[in-house]
């Protein structure tokens, strides 16, 4: 399956494997890390960013591709729809059918609210489904929520919002218990002790897992629970605009049915944005590990009605995306591969860094090795590095990969690569939106009645999220948002619905001199796989 050039380089990896097995690789110091990030992390490449000219974050920089959408036109005119013709009238509208949306739906249902969940693709089609490695929670004797706080705060470069991070770490054990009680199958020892490992930047082994299907296992259980409760869900119906009432309270959303192309008006006393990330915007041309629908829709919807973004310029590139073969280019190779002992190795067979540095540091270090140091292996699109997977079974016994990484094993087997015997080629892939919409510790924005949960939230993880803290945040803040939205809807009297904010935003665009044909949210990316545009004859 590998090319002859790759096989030649692989020999170097095999040659040094034995001596690398038990060699101690030191971690980088704080200053060394800072310098590395500034020189090699894509967040520091100024050409990838643009300063916003309108809206609550006017004057701050965000990725160019996101700026175009935030400063794009609505898909609607303000007078296009009769908002008195309501298609759905509910207490809580949840936009997004991933882990955060599903958790919110269950809690809002517990709170007695009439809930509607709408999603762009199918319920459960989300990045949650693709999260492989694990979920953090400080539930072991040698660990504590305080230790978890310290790891996440340092890993986030001390920029996490303390009130959000405090909630995350304190609610962590309860989130695991909640999932366990719903029937999620966590990996356990015979005596019930959770099987936990390290992730990049953790000081305690607190990564809980369900083999390497952790997110998929969580998502399918939550989806089943939402279904069993009879909560109303509409697939293929993304929100394309939020609705306010005449007092500035949230009032619902306009959906676009992707099958009939009709617009649907949802009147809702509270709304939860749970639309996830932005990988499919392919910042700086990077491939992505994200779901097909990850186009930052919620950020666009929120921005247009005045919600503030935080750290929207902090993007997480997962150090180990698939660099070869082409069919799975950009897909995720879970960090758990490194948690279980696989090292990152360059073309000459050197393990050039500790495999469990935080993600931003690891990604920058890989980019440095491939660019400035010229020690990459030629792959599909530029160069790549080796992830020495055969080390895992050598270190922990034959069968470890089959038991702990069945998804990875299968993904590569389909393309003729046995990662138990051969290392794999990786390069950073666009993985996570560290920033997002600013909320308080109750998951509420400054727009009354509007809540946000999941990857669309900013601030929990600061400028760099640790592995396993995202699966945790979708549960913790999804539940908080669902509970609070239900409670607040019970006290809410909506006024007259309006889309006047569209005109206001258009006026701002005009005043700023922005001329664009872009309409947003984007909803889905377009791919042509190298096909040339057809010429009319």
């Amino acid at each position: 399956m590998y090319t002859s050039e790759m096989l030649a380089s692989m020999k170097n990896v095999e040659k040094t494997r034995n001596e690398r097995l038990h060699a101690a690789i030191s971690r980088m110091g704080a200053e060394e890390k800072d310098e590395l990030l500034q020189e090699f992390h894509p967040d520091y490449r100024s050409s990838g960013f643009q300063v916003l000219k309108v809206g609550p974050n006017k004057g701050s920089k965000v990725p160019v591709e996101l700026a175009e959408l935030l400063e794009g036109h609505s898909r609607l005119h303000s007078d296009q729809l009769d908002l008195n013709q309501v298609d759905y009238d509910v207490d809580v509208l949840i936009i997004g059918g991933g882990g955060a949306g599903a958790s919110a739906a269950i809690e809002a249902d517990n709170g007695g609210a009439k809930v509607l969940l709408v999603t762009k693709l199918r319920m459960g089609d989300a990045n949650t489904m693709m999260a492989e490695g694990g979920i953090q929670a400080a539930d072991k004797a040698n660990d504590s929520p305080a230790q978890h706080y310290l790891d996440a705060f340092g890993g986030g470069h001390y920029s996490n919002k303390p009130e959000l991070l405090e909630k995350l770490v304190l609610d962590g054990p309860l989130a695991i218990k909640w999932l366990s009680d719903l029937g999620v199958m966590f990996d356990k020892e015979q005596d019930g002790t959770m099987v936990t490992t390290h992730g990049g930047g953790t000081s305690r082994k607190r990564m809980h897992a369900c083999a390497d299907y952790t997110g998929a296992e969580i998502m399918r259980v939550l989806r089943d629970e939402v279904s069993n409760r009879g909560i109303k869900c509409i697939d293929y119906a993304p929100a394309i605009e939020l609705i306010l009432d005449d007092k500035g309270h949230i009032g619902g959303a306009v959906l676009e049915d992707l099958d009939s192309h009709e617009h649907l008006v949802v009147r809702a006393k509270t709304v939860i944005i749970a639309t996830g990330g932005a990988g499919r915007l392919h910042y700086q041309g990077f491939p992505t590990s994200n779901h097909y629908g990850a186009t930052a829709d919620g950020l666009v919807l929120g921005y247009r009605i005045g919600t503030e973004l935080i750290y929207a310029d902090a993007i997480q590139y997962h150090p180990t995306g698939v660099a070869y073969p082409a069919q799975i280019y950009g897909a995720l190779v879970t960090e758990k591969v490194r948690s279980l002992g696989a090292q990152l190795v360059n073309s000459e067979g050197q393990a050039f860094m500790h495999p469990l540095e935080t993600r931003d540091v690891a990604a920058a270090s890989i980019i440095r090795e491939c660019t400035a140091r010229h020690k990459g292996v030629p792959a599909l699109d530029g160069v790549a590095l080796w992830l020495d997977t055969p080390m895992i079974d050598i270190l922990s016994g034959e069968g470890t990969i089959a038991k702990r990484l069945p998804g990875m094993l299968r993904m590569y087997e389909k393309f003729g690569i046995d990662l138990r015997k051969e290392p794999i080629l990786i390069y950073p892939t666009l993985h996570y939106q560290n920033g997002g919409i600013l909320v308080d510790s109750q998951a509420e924005t400054k727009v009354p009645g509007l809540y946000v949960a999941g990857e669309a939230v900013g601030g929990i993880h600061g400028r760099n999220r640790l592995m396993g803290n995202s699966l945790l945040d979708i549960i913790v803040f999804g539940r908080i948002a669902g509970r609070n939205a239900a409670a607040s809807s019970a006290k809410c009297e909506l006024g007259r619905l309006t889309l006047a904010h569209i005109d206001k935003f258009e006026a701002e665009l005009k005043a700023a001199g922005i001329e664009t044909t872009v309409v947003a949210p984007k909803l889905l990316p377009t791919y042509t796989h190298g096909r040339q545009a057809r010429v009319e004859k």
């Binding site: 040698n142 706080y149 310290l150 304190l170 966590f186 629970e225 069993n228 299968r410 889905l524």
Partner: protein
């Protein structure tokens, strides 16, 4: 010049590069996919397709994001398969009294044709996990079905009209909730947090000057 091959996508002929997956070939042909496309990595089960090579009697099924196109491939999509999922309340049901057999009695209609297993893109022994469910061996059913992505190719091939993925899911939920060993340390920590014992230590860190926090972080002991 890359090798080009002829394929038939939803009944129309296209010439596409031989290196593409079926999903990518559809996009190459000009489709903007809405249905039948999800994670694009083989984890979500959204993209099941049915195909045959032109002239062959064999009908095949696969995930379109994980399968190469082949010369003469005629592809149809399974965009949504009508599964017969039962509703239940996890707090009310227990892994006793043949609960899965009660909720999904059609599992006893299995005729042992093994079409489910042959169709599974994950290589699971689907017929075996249904057999475990029939016998009330729910933990075994849970583990044997664990890697299921819910594409429902198995159900589309089953003459006994079984909804396999729903059966596996119920077995896994019963296992996760009732059958897997109880986790003591989790319960203890949850109780500690609930009683407020863990809050002060977190807030003590929050209250420190940044330089002290940095010192704590950089010097923290890392578990081996």
């Amino acid at each position: 010049m890359e090798e080009m091959i002829k394929v038939f996508l939803l009944g129309k002929e296209y010439t596409v590069p031989a290196t593409l997956t079926i999903m990518d070939a559809m996009e190459y042909a000009g489709y903007k996919l809405v249905r039948g496309c999800g994670c694009r990595s083989g984890f979500c089960g959204a993209c099941a397709v049915v195909y045959r090579i032109k002239g062959s009697t064999d009908i095949k099924v696969c995930l379109s994001c994980q399968t190469h196109v082949q010369e003469g491939m005629c592809v149809g999509q399974i965009q949504s398969f009508p599964l017969n999922k039962r509703s239940y309340n996890m707090s009310d049901i227990k892994p006793v009294d043949n609960i899965i057999g009660q909720l999904y009695p059609e599992i006893y209609g299995c005729i042992g044709c093994n079409a489910c297993t042959k169709g599974c893109p994950q290589g699971l022994n689907v017929m075996q996990y249904i057999a475990y469910a029939q016998r009330g061996e729910y933990e075994k059913c849970a583990h044997a079905s664990f890697d299921c992505v819910g594409c429902n190719i198995c159900a589309s091939r089953c003459p006994a009209q079984i909804s396999h993925s729903a059966v596996g899911l119920l077995a896994r939920r019963l296992t996760g909730k009732y059958l897997s060993p109880h986790c003591e340390h989790l319960e203890e920590r949850v109780a500690e947090v609930a009683s407020g014992q863990c809050t002060a230590a977190v807030e003590a860190i929050i209250g420190k000057p940044l330089e002290e926090i940095k010192e704590l972080y950089n010097k923290r002991e890392i578990e081996k």
